[in-house]
Each structure stands twice: as structure tokens, then as C-alpha cells.
């Protein structure tokens, strides 16, 4: 099977005043359809930078990055926008919902621009919020808000779901619920889910775990027997 994402010597550096910071150095990897991947690393290791590259939120400094054979490293801002629009779904630690749109409307904000969106009702059912469709974010708990954020990302029906510390602001029980949803999306729809976290507990449910340190991909663990989300603990 051909990989959907390929990185070769992927590098990113920032100019901070007079200092040049290498946030990511010569990273190589391949990611396949339907994979559940966890990127692990301490704060400042470069994992967010990696996520930004994969998600088309930032331009590559050096090296190559391909999505289904199409180069992302040479893409301009317009192409990157289209890539995000049609291929990627994002979930953040802080839910980033629109406060003045209700649950249903928050999701339709995403489906309106997608090419082949899922039905909002289906997605709401999947995340268990059918009865909260008319609620505004301020009327929802943190876990519920994160589930709306997740529903919003899934509803676009993206090939890749990128999650940046999706459980970072949630308690343990709620976190497990969210992880279950992610796993189900990955399996039921055969989509790629990439989670970045510094919570090593989550790594057990991944097919593969990327370890990042000082901007370098130090090694990749293959997990022959990923555990179900219920079995995860930290």
C-alpha cells in the first residue's frame, strides 16, 4: 500500500531576531491510510512544528513533504488553504469553538466548505450530542465542547485528523470518551488519525509512535497490539 504522507529530510527553521532556531531537522517518515499515530515528545521538542507542517499550517523550510504524491513543500498559501479545506481536520487542546454559533451551526461552518461532508446529524449521534444541537458553547461542559470540536473536524470527512493534545484540558474519564471517538473514526471510516501529546499513556493505543526530541525524529515504535482506549491509563 502506498503511503498517503511522505516526508524526506523535512526541516523547519525560524528566524528569531538575530538567532536562527531549527525547530525540525531532517525528519523522514511515511504515514499510511487508516493508521492511528501518536507523536510523543517533551515541550519544545518540535512536535507542534511537525503537526503544523503535516497540517499545511506553515510552509516547509527545507526537505520534501508529499500528500498522495503531491508536493506540499512547494505549495503556496493558496494551495495550503485548499489542502486544509479538503484533506485535514484539526482538534486542539482548547476547543476553539465559535461562541456565538450553536453546536449544529459550529459543525455546519465546516461542512459548508467541505467537498464530501458527513451528515451533521450522523456526526452528532456519533459524538453523542444529538440532544445538544441547539446549545451554544457556553452552555456545554469542557468534554462536550471538545466533542463538538471533534464532530466539527470529522464532519468535513477529512483523510487526516490532526489532534494537538486533544485531552490536555479534560479529566481522565472525559479523555477516554474522546479517545474512543477518535479510534472509532479511524477504524469505521478508515481515516488517518495523528495525535501529538506528551502523555505517554495514550501511545499504547497507537499503531505507531513517533518520538521527537530536539527537533529530530529519534525513533519510531511499531505497536503490534494496540490496546483499546478503555485500557489506556495515566
Amino acid at each position: 500500500m502506498a503511503p498517503i504522507l511522505v516526508a524526506k529530510n523535512l526541516s523547519k527553521s525560524y528566524q528569531m531576531g538575530e538567532i536562527r532556531v531549527d525547530a525540525l531537522k531532517d525528519v523522514d517518515f511515511e504515514i499510511y491510510k487508516g493508521e492511528f499515530i501518536v507523536i510523543l515528545g517533551p515541550s519544545g521538542s518540535g512536535k507542534s512544528t511537525l503537526l503544523n507542517m503535516i497540517g499545511g499550517m506553515d510552509q516547509v523550510s527545507a526537505g520534501e513533504l508529499y500528500y498522495k504524491g503531491n508536493p506540499l513543500h512547494t505549495a503556496d498559501l493558496k494551495k495550503l488553504t485548499l489542502f486544509r479545506r479538503h484533506t485535514v481536520g484539526f482538534v486542539f487542546q482548547f476547543y476553539n469553538l465559535m461562541p456565538n454559533l450553536n453546536t449544529y451551526e459550529n459543525i455546519s461552518l465546516a461542512t459548508e466548505i467541505a467537498e464530501d461532508p458527513l451528515s451533521i446529524e450522523t456526526v452528532l449521534e456519533e459524538v453523542g450530542l444529538s440532544d445538544r444541537a441547539q446549545h451554544f458553547p457556553s452552555q456545554l461542559s469542557g468534554g462536550q465542547q471538545q466533542r463538538v470540536a471533534l464532530a466539527r473536524a470529522i464532519a468535513k470527512n477529512p483523510d487526516i485528523l490532526l489532534c494537538d493534545e486533544p485531552t490536555g484540558a479534560l479529566d481522565f474519564q472525559t479523555s477516554i470518551q474522546v479517545l474512543k471517538l477518535l479510534k472509532r473514526f479511524c477504524e469505521n471510516y478508515e481515516k488517518t488519525v495523528i495525535i501529538i501529546t506528551h502523555n505517554a499513556g495514550i501511545a499504547k493505543m497507537a499503531h505507531r509512535v513517533f518520538y521527537i526530541k530536539d527537533g529530530q525524529l529519534t525513533h519510531i515504535d511499531h505497536n503490534e497490539n494496540p490496546v483499546p482506549p478503555e485500557a489506556v491509563s495515566w
Binding site: 507542534s48 503544523n52 497540517g55 499550517m57 506553515d58 498559501l77 493558496k78 488553504t81 485548499l82 489542502f83 486544509r84 479545506r85 479538503h86 485535514v88 484539526f90 486542539f92 487542546q93 482548547f94 476553539n96 469553538l97 465559535m98 461562541p99 456565538n100 454559533l101 450553536n102 451551526e105 455546519s108 461552518l109 465546516a110 459548508e112 466548505i113 451554544f136 458553547p137 457556553s138 466539527r152 468535513k156 494537538d164
Partner: protein, 788 residues
């Protein structure tokens, strides 16, 4: 250290603060420059009047013995009184096809302390034995005359040469109009000359009489009392007109110009400062919200409320000071060209501008008052927070349904961005109101000058093309029987139509209201002077009753059906008065007149078939011949050629349109600033929402549409609100600029609204385009990963 924070904060949002400063600067430019021009005009006027002994009263008489002056001088309340000869004569200048008039005014060189004395800027005293004159400087310059040059005039049908020995300015002709119907001074065709009384008597053959009296009053004397004493004294000699300084044309126009400027200087800057104040208030309020945590920390450190307040007020102080200084300096600088511009229109010495510390300081204070008030309102909330509370994030915004959602067909029509935009409006009603008012103000600022320009053009062209449609008007020096005149002119080559008209100075009285106007008598079926009603339809001059202009009706508090008393010195028996009924009120924007059928007017006066001027329609090519033929006639005062007058006015109007473009520019800048700042603030406030949308894959344009939709939505209603606002401003403006010569209509023109709509939309669009650049620079990851 806090000072550094201020400077860095200001730098971070420099675009928005510069915009705010710009609006302050615009307001202060108007305040400072107008105030200074007003002072300059006032100062020059007062000094000129005092030094030249400007008259408090004026009287025009048929002829009164010069010896009577000594007696009149002794009347109670009169300080000084002088008799003069005043007579318009035609001038013969080579290479000039136009009629040029020179108003000869006599001076008695034996008298000291002459009233309305001229300031001689070049030349020598008049020699009482010689045919020598002084002429006014504008006429002198326009015609490139030289001292010692002789000019040829036609007086009493005879050609005479007059030697120019001096030139200068007179307080009586600061704004020199030949007749009250003229709009602008036209030194090309009208000049004033002063000559020794004795020689002028000889020139005109008036014997020992004079036809004009000027007088000054003793301190604390009421003009009315003196007028009452003078009228019976003068009536036996054919008193034509007597009026106070306040009604003297030149003085009236100068005074009204100053009053108009004062009204502008008092109101317009406040509007600009209010807009700037609102911008500042919103910016500071937003900043304080953003810096909640920082305020908490400062408080936790032990900074006092006063210190924190001082810190946040210093933003306002800096903005206010910068705006005040720049606006003040620019205003002072601009007052110089403005004053120069007024030198063109108002001919008086000492009309100069100089640096004014007073208005500079007042401008800065004004700017600071607004800025500090706005700043204090913006930041007062932060000061009341407890440190621990301040460091916690503010309570999250609560989304909720709004009333508009009940209009389901409208709500369904909207995209999700549209829904967001509409809910945002209610989330921040204060700011929505600011955008609403700001755009409405912009709209009015654009529609108003445009309307005024359209209206003044329309009035003037209507007057020439629809009302006074004759080609030539011949003004007679004294009333003549109609038939004789018609017969003579009908036989002139190229003549197509001859109509007589009677322009009779009258006093109209209604209750205690009273006004001196010219009552115009016209033939029943006049083709050359059309009286138009409000809908532009022609009305016949009434045989029974009188038509009066709208402004006159207002001044006399008259309505249709009211009876009005007419007094005229041209009545066969000047002691009698007549009553006529007002049968109609018509719009009249140029001049202030009443109308009757000419025969009916003659009957009213107890006269028979007299006419004072003749209107002609004739071949354009025959007009020079007509002028040539009658130029020397002593029966004719003036031959006015409509086409050349219109050309002259068009030329003058072109030069005044610069002011209109300046006002338009101010409007565009204000609109841009309001929209740009509201966009910038919205961006900073909603960066998380907008970044989320970007991450979702929306294009910057799609993301911006949330903000732009909101602004266009409010902008649409704001522009509609701008229409009545413009109307109000137009009414206010009309009240401040209307006078007896010119009254401004208050109907907005469709073109002005269209232009205002386009220009306002243009400035909204431009501001959004520039704000869009900020969206592209949003650091998505930074925004989204930060805590709410």
C-alpha cells in the same frame, strides 16, 4: 518601565492609533484654521471700520440741497453726517466689448474726518479743481491701470476724461457688488471711483444738490431713533431708501460670512472629535480587556489604582497631544492660504494671518479633553477589579439567540458566516452603534458638500436659463413711459421681443414685521421673466394681489391670504400706503423679491405705465450694436448681457469647488478610519475564531466575510440613516449661509446621495482590503494553542 510598555503597545497597533490621530487632526484643522480666519476677518473689519469712520446709516435721496447737511447734522443722536453724490457711469475702455460701470462717489476735500474714507495705498490727494479720481484697488489691478492715466467715461450723455491720481480701499466696498442681485464682486465690469464734490457736481450737472447721505451715530444711540428723525426731514427731497449699517450689502455679506464660519468652527470639529473619542474609547476598552492579566499582576505587585489609571490614561494623553499639536500646527499653517483666499473676496487692508498661540493651546486642550474623557471611560472598568479576579480570564462570552432569528426566511438565507456576523452585532451593541454613527456621519460629510455644490449650480443656472430668460436687460436711470420705450427698442435690428418691467423699492409691512425689498412688476404674459412655483410650473404675475418669495414670507411671518402693507417712495403720494393680499408664495433662491402684474403695480403706485428696465430677446450678434447705440444715453444706467454674466459666474464657481473637494477628502478619511479601526479591533478580539476558520481551510476572504458582512450590514442601515442626517445638516447649513442675496434650498440632490453612497462604500471597501492583510498575517498555531 510602564512608559516603555505604553510606547510598545502604541507601536503594536500603530495603524489604528494613527487613524484615530488623523480624525483628531482633521477636527482641529477645521477648528484652528476657521477660528483664526474668523479672528483675522473680525480684526481687519473692526480696525478698518474704526480707522475709516464707517457709517452707521445710509440714505438715498432724489436730490437734496447740500446746505441742508448742516441742519441734519444737528439732529439728536447724529455724530457726523455728510452729503455725497453717488452715480454709476459707463466707462469707455479700448478693446473691451463688455459694459463696464464705475460708481462715482463724491468726496468733499474741505471736510475733515470724512465718513467711509478711503485708504489710499498709492497716489496723491485729490485736487478739488481737477477732474481727478481715486479708484478702488481691485478695479485698478484688474484693468492694469496706471497712476496719471486718463480714463474716458460717459456721464449725462457726454464723454469726459478723468485722471487717476490714486488707488485704495473703502470700508463701504469690502465686498463690492453693483446691485444687490449680483453674487460676486466683478472688478472686470464694476469699479468704484472717488472724485472731488465740486467737480462731480459740474460733471453731472446736479447744481448744489446731493443724492446720498451717510451718517455716524453718537455712542449709545439707537439707529431706529435717528431714522425716525431723518425720514420726515428727507421725504420732501425724494427719499428713496434709508438703512442701517447692518443692511449695507458689503457689511451684511461680510458679517454673514463670519457668522457662517463661526457656526462651522463651533460644530464640525466637535463631530470629528466625537468620532475620534469613540475610536479611542473602543481601542482602550479592548486593550484593557486584553491586558486584564497584566493589570492583575500590576495590582498584585502593589501598583495603586491611581498609578494604573495614570498608565492607561497616558495612552489617551499621548494620542490627544499628538493629534492636538499636529492638528493645531496644520490648522495654523492652513489659516494662511485660507486668509489669502478671503483676501480675494473681501477687499480690506490688514487681512493677514499670524501664528496664534491662543488657538494652538485651545486646540490641544480641546483634543485632550475629548481624549482623556474617552480614555477614562474606556479603562475605568479595569481599575475596579481585584488583583486575583483580574488575573483570571474574563467570564466566557455567552452565545445566545437573537430576535432576528425569528424572521426565519431571512435567517435561513444566511450562510453560517452571516449568522455569526449578525449575532456579533448584538454581542457588542456599543461598537455596532459606533460603526453605525461613524458611517452615517461619513455619508453626510460626503453628501452635504456635494448637495451644496449641486444646489448652488442649479440655483444659478435656473435663474439664468429658466427664470430670467432674456438676453439683455436695459436698466433705466429714471422711470419712463412703457410705450415709448417699447416702440423705440422694437425697431432695433435683431430684436425679437421687448418686455417692460418695473423694479420698485418698497417697504412691506405685516404686523410688526417689516422688510425693504424690490417689488417687481411684470407683464401678464411675460416670456422673458418666468415666475416658477415649487413644481417648476410657470405662474402669471397677479393682477389682484402679490406673490412673495418663501424667505420673505418667513421674514414677514406671512401666509397666503394675509394682507400686506406696501409703502414706497415711488408712490405718487409717498405719504400713502396700500394694502394687497398675498396670493401665492414662491421659491426664490437668488434675491428677495415680491411680484405683481406691471399695470396693477402702476395702479398701486398711482403712476401711469412706468417702467424702470426693459428685458430684450434679440440676436446675439446684434447685442454689441445695441450697447454701442445706447451706451451714451443718459436715460440708461446699465445694459446687462446675460450670457457674459453667466460665463463670469461659472468661472467664479469653478474656483470655489476646491473647498468642496477638501470636505469630500475629510469625509473619505473619516469613513476609512471608522471602518478600519472597527475591523482591527474585531480582528484582535476574535482572532481565535478567525484562526479556527482559517485552519478549517477557509480562505482569508471567507474568514474576513464574517467581519465584512457585519460592516456592510450596519453600513447599509448607516447610509440610510445618513440621508435624514444630511437633511438636518443641510437645513442647519442653509440657515447659516442664507441671506437676502442668496438663500440655499434644503432639498438633497439624488446625485449627491448617489455619490455619497459610492464614496462611503468605497472607503468601507478600502478599509476592509487593508484590514484583510492583517488576517493573512495571523499566526494560526500561536492563536489556537493559547489558552482562552
Amino acid at each position: 518601565m510602564l512608559r516603555k510598555k505604553v510606547i510598545r503597545d502604541l507601536k503594536e497597533n500603530k495603524g489604528a492609533y494613527i487613524a484615530c490621530i488623523t480624525v483628531i487632526v482633521l477636527g482641529l484643522i477645521i477648528f484652528t484654521s476657521f477660528s483664526m480666519v474668523i479672528d483675522n476677518l473680525h480684526l481687519a473689519q473692526t480696525r478698518f471700520y474704526n480707522q475709516q469712520n464707517f457709517a452707521d446709516g445710509f440714505a438715498e435721496i432724489q436730490a437734496i440741497p447740500y446746505s441742508e447737511m448742516d441742519h441734519l447734522k444737528k439732529l439728536k443722536g447724529i455724530d457726523n453726517l455728510q452729503g455725497r453724490l453717488v452715480k454709476d457711469v459707463k466707462l469707455v475702455l479700448k478693446d473691451q466689448d463688455k459694459n463696464i460701470y464705475l460708481r462715482l462717489i463724491s468726496i468733499d476735500p474741505t471736510q475733515e474726518n470724512n465718513i467711509n474714507e478711503m485708504v489710499l495705498s498709492q497716489g496723491i490727494p485729490l485736487d478739488r479743481q481737477e477732474m481727478n479720481i481715486w479708484v478702488d484697488n481691485k478695479f485698478f489691478e484688474t484693468h492694469q491701470l496706471k497712476l496719471a492715466q486718463e480714463i474716458e467715461i460717459i456721464a449725462s450723455g457726454k464723454k469726459k476724461n478723468l485722471r487717476i491720481v490714486g488707488m485704495g480701499k473703502s470700508p463701504e466696498y469690502i465686498y463690492a457688488l453693483r446691485t444687490a442681485n449680483d453674487l460676486f464682486p466683478t472688478p472686470e465690469t464694476f469699479g468704484i471711483a472717488w472724485m472731488p464734490l465740486e467737480r462731480m457736481k459740474t460733471l453731472l450737472g446736479t447744481g448744489e444738490t446731493v443724492n446720498n447721505i451717510v451718517f455716524t451715530l453718537k455712542p449709545n444711540t439707537d439707529y431706529k431713533d435717528v431714522e425716525e428723525l431723518l425720514i420726515p426731514e428727507l421725504k420732501p427731497y425724494g427719499l428713496k431708501n434709508i438703512f442701517a449699517r447692518k443692511d449695507q450689502t458689503s457689511h451684511l455679506i461680510l458679517t454673514q460670512e463670519i457668522q457662517g464660519l463661526e457656526a462651522m468652527a463651533r460644530s464640525v470639529p466637535l463631530l470629528f472629535l466625537a468620532v475620534a473619542g469613540m475610536i479611542l474609547y473602543i481601542m482602550l476598552k479592548r486593550m484593557v480587556q486584553q491586558q486584564r492579566g497584566q493589570i492583575g499582576i500590576l495590582k498584585a505587585f502593589g501598583y495603586t489604582r491611581r498609578e494604573i489609571r495614570r498608565h492607561y490614561l497616558s495612552y489617551a494623553l499621548i494620542i490627544g497631544t499628538i493629534g492636538g499639536v499636529i492638528g493645531g500646527l496644520l490648522g495654523i499653517w492652513l489659516s494662511f492660504p485660507f486668509t489669502t483666499l478671503y483676501q480675494i473676496y473681501f477687499n480690506m487692508p490688514g487681512l493677514n494671518s499670524q501664528f496664534s498661540l491662543k488657538y494652538f493651546v485651545m486646540g490641544i486642550l480641546l483634543s485632550l479633553v475629548f481624549a482623556i474623557f474617552a480614555g477614562y471611560q474606556g479603562c475605568k472598568k479595569a481599575l475596579t477589579l481585584q488583583p486575583a479576579e483580574a488575573m483570571r480570564p474574563p467570564a466566557p462570552h455567552r452565545g445566545k439567540k437573537i430576535i432576528l432569528e425569528k424572521v426565519s426566511f431571512f435567517w435561513q438565507m444566511l450562510t453560517v458566516q452571516g449568522k455569526m456576523a449578525i449575532r456579533n452585532m448584538t454581542r457588542n451593541p456599543g461598537r455596532s452603534l459606533f460603526i453605525l454613527l461613524g458611517i452615517a456621519f461619513t455619508f453626510s460629510l460626503l453628501a452635504l458638500p456635494w448637495s451644496m455644490k449641486d444646489l448652488s449650480q442649479q440655483i444659478i443656472f435656473d435663474q439664468f436659463e429658466k427664470i430670467e430668460t432674456y438676453d439683455v436687460k436695459v436698466a433705466l436711470s429714471h422711470p419712463l413711459p412703457q410705450k415709448k420705450v417699447i416702440w423705440e427698442l422694437n425697431h432695433f435690428p435683431g430684436m425679437k421681443r421687448v418686455e417692460t418691467r418695473a423694479d420698485i423699492p418698497v417697504t412691506l409691512k405685516h404686523n410688526w414685521y417689516k422688510k425693504d425689498v424690490v417689488l417687481i412688476g411684470l407683464p401678464q404674459n411675460s416670456h422673458l421673466y418666468n415666475i416658477l412655483d415649487e413644481t417648476g410650473h410657470k405662474m402669471a404675475p397677479p393682477k389682484n394681489g402679490i406673490l412673495i418669495s418663501g424667505r420673505l414670507a418667513k421674514l414677514l411671518n406671512m401666509e397666503v391670504g394675509h394682507s400686506i402693507t406696501v409703502e414706497s417712495l415711488m408712490m405718487k403720494d409717498p405719504e400713502t400706503t396700500s394694502k394687497v393680499t398675498v396670493v401665492g408664495i414662491i421659491p426664490q433662491y437668488l434675491g428677495l423679491n415680491a411680484y405683481m402684474e406691471i399695470e396693477a403695480l402702476n395702479t398701486l403706485l398711482g403712476q401711469k405705465n412706468i417702467t424702470t428696465s426693459i428685458m430684450l430677446r434679440m440676436n446675439e450678434s446684434d447685442i454689441p450694436a445695441l450697447q454701442k447705440a445706447y451706451n451714451q444715453s443718459s436715460a440708461i444706467d446699465a445694459i446687462d448681457h446675460q450670457a457674459s454674466m453667466l460665463a463670469q459666474i461659472k468661472e467664479l464657481m469653478a474656483s470655489t469647488s476646491a473647498t468642496i473637494y477638501i470636505m469630500l477628502l475629510f469625509g473619505i478619511i473619516t469613513g476609512f478610519t471608522v471602518v478600519y479601526n472597527s475591523a482591527i479591533i474585531t480582528l484582535s478580539e476574535r482572532n481565535r475564531e478567525l484562526a479556527s476558520m482559517m485552519v478549517m481551510g477557509m480562505t482569508p476572504a471567507e474568514v474576513l466575510s464574517v467581519i465584512t458582512f457585519e460592516q456592510w450590514f450596519i453600513g447599509f442601515f448607516a447610509m440610510i440613516l445618513g440621508i435624514p442626517l444630511t437633511q438636518l445638516m443641510l437645513i442647519g447649513m442653509a440657515q447659516s449661509v442664507s441671506n437676502d442675496v442668496y438663500s440655499m434650498p434644503t432639498e438633497m440632490t439624488a446625485m449627491s446621495l448617489l455619490y455619497a453612497f459610492l464614496l462611503t462604500s468605497g472607503s468601507i471597501w478600502l478599509a476592509q482590503k487593508i484590514a484583510a492583510k492583517k488576517i493573512k498575517k495571523l499566526d494560526l498555531v500561536e492563536v489556537l494553542k493559547s489558552k482562552e
